[in-house]
Amino acid sequence: MDFDLSKPQKLLQQSAREFFARACPPEKVRELMATGTAFDDALWRDMADQGWTGLIIPEEYGGLGLSLVDLIAVVEEMGRACLPGPFISTLWAASLIARAGSEGQRKQYLEPISMGEMKATVALLEESADWDLDAVSMRADKDGKSYRLRGRKEFVNDAAVADLIVVVARSGEDLVLLPVESGAAGLTITETPAIDATRKLYSLEFEDVEVPESSALAFTTRIREAVEEATETAMVALCAEMLGGMEWTLATTVEYARTRQQFDKPIGAYQAVQHQCADMFLMTESARSAIYYAAWAMSEKDPLAGLAGAVAKAYCSDAAREVGNRGVQVHGGIGFTWEHNLQLYYKRAKSSEILFGDAGYHRNAIARKVIDEVE
């Protein structure tokens, strides 16, 4: 048993850290967040050259075929850099295609995703903003050999840069997964400016968007489970990204506490400040325990993986925000400025808290599993 990243995983992580420090410094984050899509094609291709866009995609589809634990080692570094762009969205869509797509569909989509030629996202939430799959109500009505999508999807990450949008809709009682290419007739994508400009959100209007029945990702009878598992994969990656953000905030705050002087002493010599930093450390390391375990349990298909994922996201959602709160407090006035990079991480933490369900949502999931499902 070894509850730590292995040597190769640590090397992978180290190279990712160096890569993002070079390729995505804070100035780059700021530059991208000021654009309409927060996306940089050259950066994406460099990431693809490293193999990261296909990190957990099987080798037969051009990926590296590595495990979820390998993936989170890299994603942690994306979080440390506050990397903008559609990495988590694409991972989510790819995980869904891998689970629900036919052999042909996997080839069709996973290969270009691995190569960095295709970005993707998933359109799940609607006006109800409810992560529960029962809340999906957008219609995909059968019309001959096609589905017709009518309605709105909300809170869709990265839709404007996605070449492919996997829409979760309802046909009769059933969930259907319909891949829609960007620029499809009848699809209107509108940005909904939100707290985190480094990862944009969009509202999608579907006016009779036609999708051939044969395109549906329907190579499984367990559509619901496929969506749940793909979402859990993307969610644990998001948690790792949050962990990287917490580490950045902690390191930056400790450094400031060591150097900023007031009353002729570094502020880090005052216990009121020390204890804020100690709590940030406690939350960061607690999050790491939960995330590494969840990623491992998922990669092993452990029966308790779903519970482990809910524990990780419930914890990280509150912890990432709270680490940010403490970080701003220790910085004083400078921490509240636009200029200081804390704001980038602070806002990312908030948008990540919400994405895939906040702490309350996942505590509900935990409650169902530990209170209601008694053997």
Binding site: V69, P266, C277, A278, N364, I366
Partner: protein, 391 residues
């Protein structure tokens, strides 16, 4: 990262599992709690004897002293299996978690031979005499004196908050042997027979109503020089070894107890009704129970992670320094949640034998004993994060 057990680890787990399933006794009727209360004490002592005879006490101790020579990983497996089997905790907790490991690291061969087997069998109960009325968090400022007289030290002074002293046979005692040097440099650790002439134990009553810690007075108590643990005037480094073990090993037994408390609360939450429905269906209560489950799970994982790190790299990693904060503060939050779940009945001494009010009150001490939360945070800030010293 690989949490799968290797063949040796699996073999260990299966063996332990089989033994536990055949040997775990029926639960003690009554609230138990403070281990030393009369009958419960004897129940636990008998249990530990049985555990020890089968070779499951002190599994990480060397074989020649009755241990198993097992590794830290097995310690983690041990904890999980113990919790799973709902086996009672071991009674001689200070001996097993703190004092035994200290004797193993710095004791003489004679001391190991003499003391370790009886710690494992609970034949001799141990206590830890560190704190004094004027030396708590700053324990290095202690004033209990020991003066050399031939081949004995003569001890005079007072300890306080000494858990188990009223039932203990032996004490790991910190004394001042040189008052003329900086405070950390004049301390010696002694292994003191609690039945020696001149030792007086006066129980102190706690807010729970129980008396589990004591004042201990030393009046010309003679301790053989052979009972110095470590070196004379190097007692601080012996004490640090003990405190590190306290941090590393206490978490293990504590998880077992916490898991049982949570499971019992889950059971009660399904039985107790409010507004015509089980409280387990109340959405606010569900959130709180889930929060408790999550925190306990994260403590378990961090504990396993710390053991695994120590095992693979032979030095404790930084995550070890948050365990005490995690468990003590979790338990305070958990017992408060329990009171809310259980409702007005929880305050009755007659409900579940009063264990909930006992536990609720007892948790106040969790953030004080074994290093206060403030001291733990100072340690994280200064030793782990490298912030300047605040004092």
């Amino acid at each position: 990262m690989d949490l799968n057990l290797n063949p040796d680890e699996l073999k260990f787990r299966d063996e332990l599992r089989v033994w536990l399933s055949a040997n775990v006794p029926a639960p003690f009727a009554g609230r138990g709690g403070e281990e030393e209360k009369g009958e419960h004490f004897e129940y636990l002592r008998a249990w530990q004897k049985k555990v020890c005879d089968a070779g499951w006490a002190g599994i990480s101790w060397p074989k020649e002293y009755g241990g198993r020579g097992a590794r830290l990983i097995e310690q983690a497996i041990f904890t999980e299996e113990w919790a799973r089997a709902e086996a009672p905790q071991l009674i001689n907790v200070l001996g097993l978690s703190l004092i035994g490991p200290t004797i193993i690291s710095v004791g003489t061969p004679e001391q190991k031979q003499r003391f370790l087997p009886k710690i494992l069998s609970a034949e001799e109960i141990w206590c830890q005499g560190f704190s004094e009325p004027n030396a708590g968090s700053d324990v290095a400022s202690l004033g209990t004196k020991a003066v050399l007289d031939g081949d004995h030290f003569v001890v005079n002074g007072q300890k306080i908050w000494t858990s188990l002293a009223h039932v203990a046979d032996w004490c790991l005692l910190l004394v001042r042997t040189d008052p003329n040097v900086p405070k950390h440099k004049g301390i010696t650790a002694l292994l003191v027979d609690m039945h020696s002439p001149g030792v007086t134990v006066r129980p102190l009553r706690q807010m729970t109503g129980d008396s589990s810690f004591n004042e201990v007075f030393f009046d010309n108590v003679r301790v053989p020089v052979a009972n110095v643990l470590g070196e004379v005037n190097k007692g601080w480094s012996t004490a640090i070894t003990t405190l590190m073990n306290e941090r590393a090993h206490l978490g293990t037994g504590i998880y077992v107890q916490f898991k049982r408390n949570l499971d019992l609360l889950l059971e009660r939450s399904r039985q107790i009704k409010r507004g015509g429905k089980p409280v387990s269906e109340d959405p606010v209560i569900r959130q709180k129970i889930a929060q408790a489950y999550m925190e306990l799970e994260i403590f378990r994982l961090t504990n396993t992670r710390a053991l695994s790190k120590m095992h693979n790299q032979s030095v404790p990693g930084p995550e070890g320094s948050i365990l005490k904060l995690q468990w003590s503060e979790y338990n305070q939050r958990f017992q408060q949640i329990a009171m809310e779940v259980l409702g007005p009945a929880a305050q009755l001494h007659g409900f579940d034998d009063g264990q909930w009010i006992f536990n609720y009150l007892r948790t106040r001490a969790n953030t004080i004993e074994a290093g206060t939360s403030e001291i733990q945070r100072n340690i994280v800030a200064e030793r782990v994060l490298g912030l300047p010293k605040s004092y």
